[in-house]
C-alpha cells in the first residue's frame, strides 16, 4: 500500500467515524439558525449536583479565589448561628444546672472521719505547674472562644458595639496565642499523669462500690479513681482534637480548602463546647463539690483521712514507700 492509499484509507475511516458520531455531537440550533452555544454548557444547577462547589480557572495566583461558588457557606452559617448557639447553650447551661442540682441534692462531700491534721504530698510542684498552666490557658481560651460565639448576644448589648469590637479583637489574639501555652500544658499533663491513669482492675471495684457516691460503701482507688481517669482520657482526647482543629484555623488555607476550613471550625466548636462541659464538672468536684480536694492542686498536700477515703490504695503505697504509718485515726 502506498503512502497515498494509506492516507486515503485513514481519511475514509475518519469520515465513517464522523458520520456515526455526528448525531451525538450534533449541535442544537437556535431560533436564528445559529448553533446553540449552551447545548454543551453545564449550568450551575448541573455543576452543583455534581460537586458541592463550582471551581474553575482564574488569572490570579490565589487558589481559593478559583472557587466560583460554594453554597455550603449557607449551611455553615446555619451551623454557626442556629445549631451552635442552641446546642452550645443547652450543653453549657445544662451542665451548670446538673451541677447545681448535684450540690443541692448531695451537698458538699465531706471528709467523713474529719481532718486528721496530717498531710501527704499528692502533687509535686512541677505537676501543679503543668495543671495550672493548662487550667489558666483553658479558662482564657474558653472565655475568649465563647465570646466569638455568644459575645454578640450576651456582651455586645451591655458594652456597646465599639467597645465590644475592641474586646473581641483582643480576645481573638489572646485565644490564638494562649493556644501554645495550652498545648504545652496538655503535653506535660499527658506525660506526667499517663502511668497512673492506665485502667486497672480496681476501677471495676470502684464502679461496683458506687464510685464514692454511696455513703455506706467504700470505693477503692489508686492514685486516680475511674472518674478522674475518665477526665484525664477525655481531656487528652478532646485537647488533641481541639488543638489540631485549632491549628488548621490558625493557618488558614495552608493545604486546606474552604470545605476543610469549615469542617475544622465545626469540629473545633463542637469539641470545645463538650470540653467546657467536662471541665465544668471537673472544676465543681475539685472545689465546691468535695471537701479536701482542692488542696491537692492548691498546696499539693492532702489530708491523710481524705486520701484514705478516696485513694486508699495510693495512700497505702505512698506510706509504705515513705516508711511511715498513719497514726491519726485507726483504719476501719
Amino acid at each position: 500500500m502506498t503512502a497515498f492509499a494509506r492516507i486515503r484509507t485513514a481519511a475514509l475511516l475518519l469520515m465513517l467515524f464522523g458520520l456515526t458520531a455526528a448525531p451525538a455531537l450534533a449541535q442544537k440550533l437556535g431560533p436564528d439558525g445559529a448553533p446553540n452555544p449552551t447545548a454543551s454548557v453545564t449550568n450551575q444547577k448541573t455543576l452543583l449536583e455534581r460537586a458541592p462547589r463550582i471551581q474553575g480557572r482564574i488569572d490570579i495566583p490565589d487558589v481559593k479565589a478559583s472557587v466560583l461558588m460554594q453554597p455550603m457557606g449557607r449551611t455553615w452559617d446555619y451551623f454557626h448561628e442556629v445549631l451552635l448557639h442552641w446546642g452550645g447553650a443547652a450543653v453549657i447551661v445544662g451542665t451548670v444546672a446538673i451541677l447545681a442540682l448535684a450540690y443541692l441534692v448531695m451537698g458538699r462531700l465531706r471528709i467523713e472521719a474529719g481532718r486528721s491534721g496530717q498531710t501527704i504530698v499528692r502533687f509535686k510542684a512541677f505537676e501543679r505547674f503543668a495543671h495550672w498552666l493548662t487550667a489558666v490557658s483553658f479558662v482564657l481560651l474558653g472565655l475568649t472562644g465563647l465570646n466569638i460565639t455568644f459575645g454578640k448576644i450576651l456582651l455586645r448589648p451591655l458594652v456597646g458595639p465599639d467597645l465590644f469590637s475592641d474586646i473581641s479583637e483582643i480576645a481573638k489574639y489572646v485565644h490564638n496565642f494562649t493556644s501554645f501555652a495550652f498545648v504545652t500544658g496538655l503535653a506535660l499533663i499527658t506525660v506526667l499523669f499517663f502511668r497512673d491513669n492506665i485502667f486497672r482492675r480496681v476501677d471495676i471495684d470502684w464502679v461496683k462500690q458506687g464510685g464514692g457516691f454511696i455513703k455506706s460503701k467504700h470505693a477503692p482507688a489508686g492514685r486516680f479513681n475511674l472518674g478522674e481517669k475518665m477526665v484525664y482520657w477525655l481531656s487528652v482526647g478532646a485537647g488533641i482534637a481541639v488543638s489540631a482543629s485549632g491549628f488548621v484555623l490558625l493557618f488558614p488555607f495552608y493545604g486546606t480548602n474552604i470545605a476543610d476550613m469549615q469542617i475544622a471550625q465545626v469540629a473545633h466548636a463542637i469539641i470545645a463546647v463538650l470540653f467546657i462541659a467536662l471541665i465544668l464538672g471537673h472544676i465543681y468536684i475539685g472545689t465546691l463539690g468535695m471537701e479536701g480536694a482542692f488542696e491537692a492542686m492548691g498546696t499539693g498536700e492532702v489530708d491523710i483521712n481524705w486520701a484514705r477515703e478516696h485513694h486508699d490504695r495510693w495512700l497505702a503505697e505512698k506510706l509504705e514507700a515513705e516508711g511511715r504509718r498513719a497514726s491519726a485515726t485507726p483504719a476501719e
Binding site: 454543551s40 490570579i60 452559617d77 454557626h80 479583637e169 481573638k172 476550613m261
Partner: protein, 200 residues
C-alpha cells in the same frame, strides 16, 4: 425601594477582566485584594463559560449572620456594607460567603488578616465616615451610588455581560436577551444569593 443586585450573563462574558480592572482603579484597592474576579469554568473545553463574580449582596447575607461583632449589615437598597472600625479580622465571613467575596489585606496566620474588605457596590462604607468624604474613600473606596451611579465594574463591562441595578429590571433584561437569542446558562449565583431565580 429598589433591591440592588448583580447579574453576570455568562454567555456574553469574554474573560477580559475589565470589570476587575475597573473595580481596582475606581476604588484604589490595595495589592492582593480582589473585590471582583473572573472565573472560567470548563476552561478550554466545549461549553467553556466565564463568570464575573464579586459580593452578590445576598438576601439574608450569611456573612452578616456569622459576623461575631455584627459589623456587616444590609442597607435599605439591599447592599451589604460593613464597618471596618469594628471588624476584628476573624475570617468567618469568608467561610460563610458562598461567593468568596470577603478579602483581607494579610495572609492571616495567627488571625492577623487585618480588616475585611469587599465589594461595596461602589456605595462607600458602612462606617461612621460621611458619605463621599475622603476618609470614606480611603477606607472603602468610591461612593458612586451616593451620586446616583451604578458600580463601575458593570458600567465598564465591554460586552454588557455584567449587569447591575434594580434586581427586577436586570432580571427582565436578561430574560429578554435569553428569549431573543434562544439560550442562556442562567443567572449564576442567584438561587444561592437571593433565594430566587430568573424566569428563563
Amino acid at each position: 425601594m429598589a433591591r440592588m443586585k448583580f447579574l453576570c450573563d455568562a454567555d456574553r462574558c469574554i474573560d477580559c477582566n475589565a470589570c476587575v480592572t475597573a473595580c481596582k482603579n475606581e476604588n484604589e484597592v490595595p495589592w492582593g485584594i480582589n473585590r471582583r474576579r473572573v472565573v472560567t469554568i470548563n476552561d478550554g473545553k466545549p461549553g467553556e463559560r466565564s463568570v464575573s463574580m464579586a459580593c452578590m449582596h445576598c438576601t439574608d447575607a450569611p456573612c452578616a449572620s456569622v459576623c461575631p461583632v455584627k459589623c456587616i449589615y444590609p442597607t435599605e437598597d439591599g447592599i451589604v456594607l460593613h464597618n471596618k472600625d469594628q471588624c476584628i479580622g476573624c475570617g468567618y465571613c469568608f467561610y460563610a460567603c458562598p461567593f468568596g467575596a470577603p478579602q483581607y489585606p494579610q495572609v492571616g496566620n495567627f488571625g492577623s488578616r487585618g480588616k475585611m474588605d469587599k465589594c461595596t457596590y461602589c456605595a462607600g462604607g458602612g462606617g461612621p465616615e460621611a458619605p463621599g468624604s475622603a476618609e470614606e474613600y480611603a477606607k472603602y473606596g468610591s461612593n458612586r451610588f451616593g451620586e446616583g451611579k451604578l458600580p463601575m465594574c458593570a458600567e465598564m463591562c465591554s460586552t454588557k455581560s455584567l449587569l447591575a441595578g434594580d434586581g427586577d429590571i436586570i432580571a427582565q433584561l436578561y430574560e429578554e436577551r435569553v428569549e431573543k437569542r434562544g439560550y442562556g446558562s442562567g443567572a449564576w449565583g442567584w438561587t444561592t444569593a437571593y433565594h430566587e431565580d430568573v424566569k428563563s
